[in-house]
């Protein structure tokens, strides 16, 4: 039998607001909102002080200010957050080399087998929280569980500045009363479908027969039921260590529909882009993999001069590769994969003639934050 794993999900509380306060204590206790102040500005982070007013992240700033007219609004200072994030991850890596960075303020730690070093998990968790408080003047919440999935949900349990443990064997019981939306991956659309089957809670989902569920939810049904029971065997993938990130999909039916293939390439590119940005790195190459209906597989690469981490660039290069590959062979496609390679430190060659480089990147990271909070389906690319 496999060793029970101990996974921490560590999440800094109201990160951007707390980061601003860490360098400017005058802001402590103020009704602080971080985000864009322009006409279409969006709340990037709502401090705990403004949450009773109903202000939430990703809400239009105009609405946030109607809910809380006395709020103090500050623009995001991403350089500062990036620096603090680096120190935060460095603290986590002091406890285990297996750290999976999910975003600037969130990471998983695989703490399996560290009892001998740090004592029981709760003691290690307190040590991590103490260091984050002392060194960064921030509070973090930690979820401890035998899997990433449950640890992630558990870290929300006692926010802010909390810690919550779900013991091995207790996962299903812990999740059972929760609404289905609590499960990462279940967005509003999926929740609606489940509601049509009378499923409101994760307990109901876990007990639902697979056959009828499959008719509504398709292929992912059995995995969904497992996850509702808290079963998740996925390993931590430390993409910071990896040299490439890729994502692929096999179609239900082989396709020659160019619009559909384009859309697939764009969706895969965005998925890969989001994972790339979580690593905090840039990529230098894009690869495209096409498998035809006869199982022959072609892979093409392109390495532009300038490194990138924005979706638009990945979509553009991957689409050009799709063009070139289909020109070489236009046959029904069975599988498409998009990858980024040659990961390197984040850097952008500034342009002498225009200044578009940074704007595009900002759009991608804003989308990431919205998706992190509202699910993968919350925003998507419109038709071109």
């Amino acid at each position: 039998m496999a060793v029970e794993r101990t996974i921490f999900h560590v999440d800094i509380d109201a990160f951007f607001a707390a980061a601003e306060r860490s360098i400017n204590p005058d802001l402590i206790g103020k009704l602080l909102i971080i985000g864009g102040t322009g006409g279409r500005g969006v709340v990037a982070c709502a401090s705990y002080e403004v949450r009773p007013y109903g202000v939430r992240s990703a809400m239009p700033m105009s609405r946030a200010l109607r809910l809380c007219p006395n709020a103090l609004v500050m623009n995001s200072s991403h350089d500062l957050y990036g620096k603090i994030s680096k120190s935060f991850m460095a603290i986590l890596r002091d406890y285990t080399p297996d750290v999976q960075v999910m975003s600037v303020d969130e990471a998983y730690m695989d703490m399996t087998g560290t009892e001998g070093l740090y004592g029981p998990p709760e003691k290690a968790g307190r040590a991590v929280k103490d260091r984050v408080r002392e060194e960064l003047k921030l509070t973090a919440s930690i979820g401890i569980a035998p899997s990433r999935l449950v640890a992630k949900i558990a870290s929300d349990e006692r926010k802010p500045d909390g810690m919550f443990t779900v013991q091995a064997g207790d996962e299903a019981a812990y999740l059972a009363p929760m609404p289905v939306r609590k499960l990462p991956g279940i967005g509003p659309r999926a929740a609606e479908k489940l509601a049509r089957l009378g499923i409101q809670t994760l307990g109901q989902l876990a007990a639902f027969p697979e056959g009828p569920l499959r008719r509504e939810m398709g292929n992912q049904s059995s995995r969904l039921i497992e996850r509702a029971k808290g079963i998740d065997n996925s390993e931590l993938s430390s993409e910071t260590q990896s040299r490439s990130i890729s994502s692929e999909t096999t179609f239900h039916a082989d396709s020659t529909d160019r619009a559909f293939l384009d859309k697939t390439v764009a969706d895969l590119s965005e998925r890969v882009g989001r994972r790339l940005r979580r690593t905090g790195k840039h990529a230098r190459s894009v690869s495209l993999k096409l498998r035809y209906n006869d199982f022959t597989t072609l892979t093409r690469h392109n390495t532009p001069h300038v490194s990138f981490d924005g979706d638009a660039r990945i979509v553009e290069i991957a689409t050009a590769l799709l063009d070139a590959t289909l020109k070489q062979r236009n046959a029904p496609v069975r599988l498409i994969g998009v990858g980024v390679e040659n990961l390197s430190e984040p850097a952008a060659q500034l342009s002498l003639l225009d200044s578009t480089v940074k704007d595009v990147s900002t759009l991608s990271s804003t989308l990431d934050r919205i998706r992190d909070r509202f699910g993968d389906d919350s925003v998507s690319r419109g038709p071109r």
Partner: protein, 377 residues
């Protein structure tokens, strides 16, 4: 017998026109070289329809005639022949040739010269004269800054501006800019500007021999073609149409920090850092530190590659202004430092995201602007 010439001359002539031979030809005859008798010499011409190069070699002419022969076949064969006389004969109907040289004898099929695209004649228009070595040097220092991808075609060209007795070359690929002004032997009354493909300019640079004295540049009116004439060579090129960026505005008027150092010191430190930078995005970080109490300052060049390691090299420099930090793509620095010879160079910088300006202290007429890389410090 049609003509007789020396293998050495024929080989040199084919080498001159060779770069204009089309590689992927939509018009197959452009993969051929045109041989034409021209008074008492043999004229060789090749064109890819963007650029045409002609050269003349000494030959004994028995009778007038012309023919086109596949360039690669002819060049490769001639280069294998001994340094001796080559006798060339036209096949019936001028559809090919036979070549005899020492104890070698070959026949090659070609096509009628009539099928060769006409080379545009550049007559009238405006003519200026520049010393060959001056133009060669200026092209070498400017042309590498031109774009090689043609997403913005004007940037693949070199802007040539002629005003009074001065000629200015400018090239920019969107990330860097090279500008040099040279004096003309014979100037113009009316100012003019046009864009020559960088590839053409690089051919001109390649073909200017150390012996050549003056180059005549003639531009049609309106500007659609340009002719470069020097020694036994004529190059006719299409011009790039479009508006070149107003490059004068891209050169910062002032700088917060100016570092003056030896080209070779800067080059060596950058090369060493580039060894590590190769694996990443080519990033090298420069830290310009003024000296304290009248001491000499220094420049530190750093590179890091996460999985490999990193390097830190420094050298003496005279610093005017505050400490400055700026990161560049090492390839861009190596390109410009590589063409500046020995001597000293200045680097002007203001913020980590404002353009860096590199000048050779002994060449006031030259300016190179390079955009930094935006990095986390």
């Amino acid at each position: 017998m049609w003509i007789t010439c020396l293998q050495e001359n024929m080989s040199r002539g084919l080498g001159v026109v060779g770069r204009a031979v089309a590689t992927r030809a939509t018009l197959p005859v452009t993969q051929n070289v045109l041989l034409t008798t021209d008074q008492s010499r043999l004229k060789l011409t090749a064109t890819n329809l963007e650029i045409a190069i002609s050269t003349w070699i000494g030959a004994q002419i028995d009778h007038e005639g012309s023919v086109t022969i596949p360039a690669r076949l002819l060049t490769e064969f001639v280069n294998q022949l001994p340094d001796d006389k080559i006798e060339i004969d036209l096949l019936d109907g001028s559809k090919g040739v036979t070549l005899e040289c020492a104890r070698f004898k070959a026949s090659m099929n070609g096509t009628d010269a009539e099928e060769f695209p006409p080379i545009p004649t550049v007559e009238g228009g405006t003519t200026v004269v520049v010393p060959a070595d001056v133009l060669k040097g200026a092209i070498e220092r400017v042309a590498f800054a031109a774009a090689t991808e043609d997403s913005r075609p004007v940037l693949t060209g070199i802007k040539v501006e002629i005003a009074g007795n001065k000629l200015t070359l400018a090239a920019a690929d969107g990330f860097r800019l090279g500008v040099e002004t040279v004096e003309l032997v014979a100037g113009v009354e009316e100012d003019m500007g046009f864009i020559v493909p960088a590839k053409t300019m690089q051919e001109v640079q390649r073909l200017i021999s150390d012996r050549a004295d003056d180059i005549t540049i003639t531009v049609t009116e309106p500007a659609s073609q340009v002719l470069f004439k020097f020694g036994d060579i004529e190059i006719v090129s299409q011009l790039v149409q479009g508006a070149f960026p107003d490059y004068g505005k891209l050169i910062p008027a002032s700088a917060g920090t100016t570092a003056t150092m030896k080209v070779e010191d800067f080059l060596q430190a950058t090369r060493a850092a580039a060894v590590f930078a190769r694996d990443g995005s080519g990033i090298v970080r420069l830290i310009v530190s003024p000296g304290e109490d009248g001491e000499k300052g220094k420049v530190t060049v750093e590179s890091r590659a996460e999985e490999i390691g990193g390097d830190e090299g420094e050298f003496d420099a005279t610093i005017d202004g505050d400490e400055a930090k700026v990161a560049f793509d090492s390839r861009y620095l190596l390109d410009v430092l590589g063409v500046l010879g020995s001597g000293t160079v200045t680097l002007e910088t203001t913020t980590p995201s404002s353009p860096g300006v590199i000048r050779a202290t002994d060449r006031e007429s030259y300016t190179h602007v390079v955009m930094p890389m935006f990095v986390q410090w």
